[in-house]
Symmetry: C2
Subunit: 329 residues, 2 copies
DNA sequence: CTGAAAGCGCTAACAT
DNA sequence: ATGTTAGCGCTTTCAG
């Protein structure tokens, strides 16, 4: 039963805590204490142990420690994709909040695929993380159930689910969509379009956008589901011939739309307005600068990290968004 | 000795393999086999065990499994930062290559800080990953020694170190810098500048750039070390008054330079050429489109993933780069 | 095809 | 301040 996909772990066993103990002439538990509770150990003893560690190049086996103590000091992080810059700041924020405290970040991607998400969640939970942070909410009931049974802090982010599993750090996607539609209506746009994925968060943006357009007495906006990256934005332009305002569910998409509009000779914002979401640094720097719904992804990550470390304060945090009208709409 | 930063792991123990075994009326090892070697177990037995697992909501404890088998099925990934989009594709590539095989990605950031890198490396190795992939090479001798002693596959990426620890997947940063300088010289530029960080890879780009400029008979280029993000690019423009060509060590920086040049009324590429590195999708979409040294970050990640899974073929892979001259230079 | 025994490397709980 | 004992939840090895 040889699995050809196994990494060939070379020979040469790593030194163990017991070996350090033997070399220092103490019992294993003393070495363990030098590592975790150093000032519980007498100075000379500690120094002998430390010398032994250095001599052997000892690296404590956290896997064994996790099993013995039932504390993995790991947090699972599940994002749709890391390639989309929109989530990078959130991962960074989580890492910034937790790594200094000795937590490891175990990262996994769902790729916007519900089946994969379920598998990934199981794989993540198998490592017994002390908490799990995810962008969005579990797509399946099974996934949700797994998280609930795991009995660890769970933080759903980038949205405000109605029935959260535990903690939430996000913003109101519906309201964000509505805000953009309202802005378009207020600036005299008549034929709106939305471009984005069909995941729950994008769909909520669409719902808010759609409803507010109706309320403003505009004809129903179009919805284009072509992908989530800049290329999809370029492609979308072919369908935008009779729209005068587009809300793209993320900034990369919006920048793609801008790029597609240029050769089509449609002037932005005169002929058509374009608003993105996320506020990538680059959106502010291009010309014309991109109007967008600003989301503070870094704050989402840091807040999620803080939430799993403490039970004080609210566990349902709405970080909001800001409509930033720059030069494209 | 209460650490207030401990996550409050709630009560309610997760079901164990032994409990599943008891419920199914088999011995623990049989449950273990159902999980790992299902077709070694008779059909009816297997079905009983599977039913018991479902009934209990059993999630195998991979921490215990790792300890017992000495195989963690985890890979450590160390990057300078995840916020810089330039490494996102590499992480994605690693994840794509390894997650389907059951490996977890333990992600950590060095933040271009040598001390932090050393600590992070130790933290990573303590989890006993079966391999470690890093962007660049260990900054300190201690870090290198730790990696060597870990006796696991190590892949250094985004560079071609002269004395690699083990495997390498990267490109020649020196040659990339030289190629840009050569291009500038060939297109009549006289006063070159370089903007980037002071990390080893950026420095190698600078060296190549500088040497080739000399060879081409140009006056020595300037080197600006102001940061690595787009904002640093904007700031750099103040120092670029008498340069007619800039090589920015990454595309975000280059886009920042472009943004800074606009209000300064300096035309690109007529007054000044700008070339980046990385080939972010967005660079191709802005106007004028960004000239850049294309690096296939995704391929670097996937190749690194493949390398740690197999010992066949070369372990020193130069994936090269492509100079892409578009509209900024 | 299934099981019994032993142990991975560490820490918790109790001594002393 | 240090040590002893037991055991975390699983897999390995060897039997049958």
């Amino acid at each position: 039963m040889d699995d050809p996909n196994l990494i060939d772990t070379k020979g040469g066993a790593a030194p163990t805590l017991a070996q350090v103990a033997a070399r220092a002439g103490v019992s294993p538990i003393t070495v363990s204490r030098v590592l975790r509770l150093p000032d519980m150990v007498a100075r000379p003893t500690r120094e002998r142990v430390e010398a032994a560690m250095r001599a052997l190049g000892y690296v404590p086996n956290l896997v064994a420690g996790s099993l013995a103590s039932a504390r993995s000091r790991a947090v699972g992080v599940l994002v749709p994709t890391v390639a989309n810059a929109i989530f990078a700041d959130t991962i960074q924020g989580i890492s910034d909040a937790l790594e200094p405290l000795g937590y490891a970040v175990v990262l996994a991607q769902s790729r916007y695929d519900d089946t994969r998400e379920e598998k990934t969640l199981a794989a993540l939970l198998g490592r017994r993380p002390e908490a799990l942070i995810m962008v969005g909410s579990p797509a399946t009931a099974v996934g949700g159930e797994m998280l609930r049974r795991a009995r660890i802090p769970v933080v759903e982010t980038w949205d405000l689910p109605v029935n959260p599993i535990d903690a939430v750090v996000g913003f109101d996607n519906h309201a964000a969509g509505a805000a953009v539609a309202q802005h378009f209506a207020a600036t005299g746009r008549r034929k709106l379009a939305f471009i984005g994925g069909d995941d729950p968060r994008a769909t909520r943006r669409w719902m808010g956008f759609h409803e507010m357009a109706q309320e403003a007495g505009l004809e129903p906006p179009r919805r284009l589901v072509l992908g989530r990256n800049a290329r999809a934005g370029v492609a979308a332009v072919a369908e935008l011939a009779d729209s005068d305002a587009v809300f793209a569910a993320n900034d990369a998409l919006a920048i793609g739309v801008l790029a597609g509009l240029r050769p089509a000779n449609r002037r932005v914002p005169d002929d058509i307005a374009v608003v993105g979401l996320g506020d990538l640094e680059i959106g502010r720097l291009i010309a014309p600068s991109l109007s967008t719904v600003r989301i503070d992804g870094g704050a989402i990550g840091r807040t999620a990290g803080r939430l799993i470390l403490s039970n004080e304060g609210s566990r349902h945090i709405n970080l909001g968004f800001t409509l930033l009208i720059r030069h494209t709409g």
